[in-house]
């Protein structure tokens, strides 16, 4: 028996934002268990906001009072470094904004267990039941996202991946309208997600077989010392890559994205399209830069292929879409491709810091604009729920000029038109890639941006230059939360497009230390 047991040292101060979010989620479960039904929402909503904003405040304290840590926390399991803190901040802001959308009960099913179209469902509707479990589930998912982006060993990363994904699988199935579509999306996401987790886990096992450790820094060291076991390393790298690329929705692992984005309740789609993407890029960067950074000779060609395929496929397939949420899903695939260009742009430390800073800025601006766009989607309604089909959006500019104007602005930001935040995001990533010797990729990126601009502009033309249909969709009076989301997102898109300097500098500073090992 090993009697020299050493108690681990845990830096609770550095992990405080994580612990706060998880703690609030646990308290949320207790509220579900003990509070009477009519009071639950009035407990859950403040708790969720306080924990998300409190965690954000804790990050500010960490950065400005204690300083950015220079060593991994919790015995090397979690790395709270500059990029992590920036990504945490981004995720928490995006989550808080998405929760503003989620507070609108109208999007969620009153009783998930009732069979769609049954008498039970009608009873639940009449009774005014609601699943306030949504809030703790969102908090668990957000906590998982935070941990996923900051985990410094593969085991922690896998736990975080599951903590992040499992609540999202559930949340996807809770749409109030078109419930079969929503449940189908949930099951699809679950099955494919479980499959990709399997890939990740098996890749992890093979890497462990190669390096004898799951620690990212340890794997990096083993690359230089272990020899003669390249098959284990290469197969393991490929499998890990499949697991991670699935989560960001890169081609050829993008098939789930349109179905899930379309079926899930729109506020949850907003959370997934922004928060999950940010977290998954954090984890992808950490695995491929920290652990496998010295193996870039082997993974770079594959990543080139994946990036090109993702950009081209996303941009081209988006053109053929007739549903607004599916179109945004394919646009999200294309944007994942643009971000992958930054992942490939590695070189010396200076070059890495530039690429990382570009990616961080891009993630922030893309996330905010995405949440705003989905918020607009929630208020354009038909009798059966949201007006998904693009033909229903014809002439919206004449009936609701302000709303259509804001949406057009978001679409222009996606397209990367100058004076919107999207332009600087794309510019930062592509500039870093061009100096990093990935010029052909940048050219593909710019061309597919142009292709993507076509379908964004097509929606704008449809909204402003078509005659409105006689029985066109109604514009629901947005709830306070939704109005706030649209305002915040539009303001952020303008400000970051006209005056991006402070945030760019912040991203630069966060990236300058690179990932700690």
């Amino acid at each position: 028996m090993n009697n020299t047991f050493q108690a681990p040292t845990i830096e609770y101060g550095q992990l405080a934002p994580l612990l706060l979010v998880f703690g609030a989620a646990v308290v949320g479960v207790l509220i579900e268990a003990f509070a009477p039904r009519y009071l639950r929402k009035s407990f859950q909503v403040p708790l969720t906001f306080v924990s998300l904003l409190g965690a954000f405040a804790l990050i500010l304290v960490q950065v400005f009072v204690s300083g950015v840590p220079t060593a991994p926390a919790a015995m090397g399991a979690v790395a709270v470094d500059g990029p992590s803190l920036f990504i945490w901040g981004v995720i928490l802001i995006l989550a808080a904004v998405s929760v503003l959308l989620i507070t609108d009960d109208d999007h969620f099913v009153p009783q998930a267990a009732a069979v769609p179209g049954s008498a039970e469902e009608d009873d639940a509707l009449a009774e005014g039941a609601a699943h306030t479990e949504v809030y703790p589930l969102v908090l668990f998912a957000v906590g998982g996202m935070l941990l996923f982006a900051a985990s410094n060993d593969l085991l922690m990363m896998f736990v975080a991946l599951e903590v992040m994904s499992l609540p999202l699988y559930l949340l996807c199935g809770l749409a109030r309208r078109r419930r079969l579509l929503s449940q189908e999306a949930s099951v699809k996401y679950f099955l494919l997600g479980a499959f990709s987790s399997g890939f990740f886990l098996y890749g992890m096992a093979l890497i462990y077989g190669f390096a004898g450790t799951v620690d990212l820094a340890g794997i990096s060291r083993a690359l230089g010392t272990v020899s003669g076991q390249d098959p284990l390393l290469l197969i393991g790298t490929a499998l890990l890559g499949v697991g991670l690329l699935f989560k960001i929705g890169a081609a050829p692992f993008q098939a789930w994205k349109p179905d899930v984005y379309q079926g899930a309740p729109t506020p949850i789609t907003a959370l997934m399209a922004s928060g999950t993407l940010v977290a998954a890029f954090g984890a992808l960067l950490r695995v491929f830069w920290v652990a496998l950074g010295n193996l870039d000779w082997d993974w770079r060609p594959v990543m080139w292929g994946v990036a090109i395929l993702t950009m081209v496929l996303g941009a081209i397939l988006a053109i053929t879409q007739t549903d607004i949420k599916r179109m945004l899903a394919y646009s999200s695939i294309a944007h994942a491709g643009f971000l992958l260009v930054g992942v490939i742009a590695t070189g010396d430390a200076r070059q890495n810091a530039d690429a990382l800073s570009g990616i961080l800025f891009y993630l922030l601006v893309y996330g905010i604009t995405t949440v705003g766009a989905f918020a607009v989607v929630t208020v354009v309604r038909d009798a059966g729920g949201e007006a998904g089909h693009l033909s229903r959006w014809a002439g919206l500019g004449k009936r609701a000029p302000a709303l259509a104007g804001v949406f057009a602005f978001f679409l222009l930001a996606f397209a990367g038109i100058p004076l919107t935040s999207g332009f600087f995001g794309k510019y930062a990533v592509f500039a870093a890639a061009a100096t990093g010797g990935a010029l052909p990729l940048v050219i593909v990126g710019v061309v597919s941006s142009a292709v993507a601009a076509f379908f964004y502009v097509r929606v704008i033309v449809l909204m402003f230059f078509s005659e409105p249909a006689a029985d066109g969709p109604t514009i629901a009076v947005p709830s306070m939360g939704t109005a706030a989301v649209v305002t915040v997102a539009a303001a952020a898109t303008v400000v970051l497009g006209v005056f991006p300097e402070p945030v760019l500098r912040l991203a630069d500073q966060a990236a300058s230390t690179l990932f700690i090992r």
Binding site: M1, N3, T4, F5, A7, V26, V29, L30, E32, A33, F34, A113, G228, Q229, P231
Partner: protein, 123 residues
């Protein structure tokens, strides 16, 4: 076939032998027995009772509560057993005991939730 992966040759050989034994036994049976099929013999064997319905049956979602409770208790047990073998050894002491009960407290939240949602009531 040497070096690291060579040491797996034994595993491959074992698999091959396993496949050979099973396939051989089935093949031998097939060769020795007479084959006279009737519709009755082609029915799916279901404990000697005539099969009912189709193979593709849906199970009730409400059985999830049993899975849920099983997971709560199984996770307890998985971590309790290794802990129980060491916690009394010198060098572990009070901290180990307290930590385990903290962990059990978190797991117990699951049971509290189930209890409040009337999963444990007999209906």
């Amino acid at each position: 076939m040497g070096g690291y992966f060579g040491s797996y040759a034994l595993v491959v050989a074992l698999f091959a032998i396993g496949v050979a034994v099973v396939a051989g036994a089935l093949f031998l049976n097939r060769m020795l027995r007479p084959t006279r099929l009737t519709p009755d013999k082609l029915l799916t064997y279901e404990c000697g009772v005539d099969p009912v319905g189709e193979g593709w049956a849906q199970s009730q979602v409400r059985y999830y509560v049993f899975t849920y409770l099983y997971v709560v208790f199984a996770v307890d047990a998985v971590f309790l057993f290794p802990w129980a073998t060491v916690y009394a050894a010198p060098g572990f002491g009070m901290t180990t005991l307290v930590e385990m009960f903290l962990f059990l407290g978190f797991i117990a939240l699951g049971i509290v939730y189930a209890w409040r949602k009337r999963v444990l009531a007999w209906t």
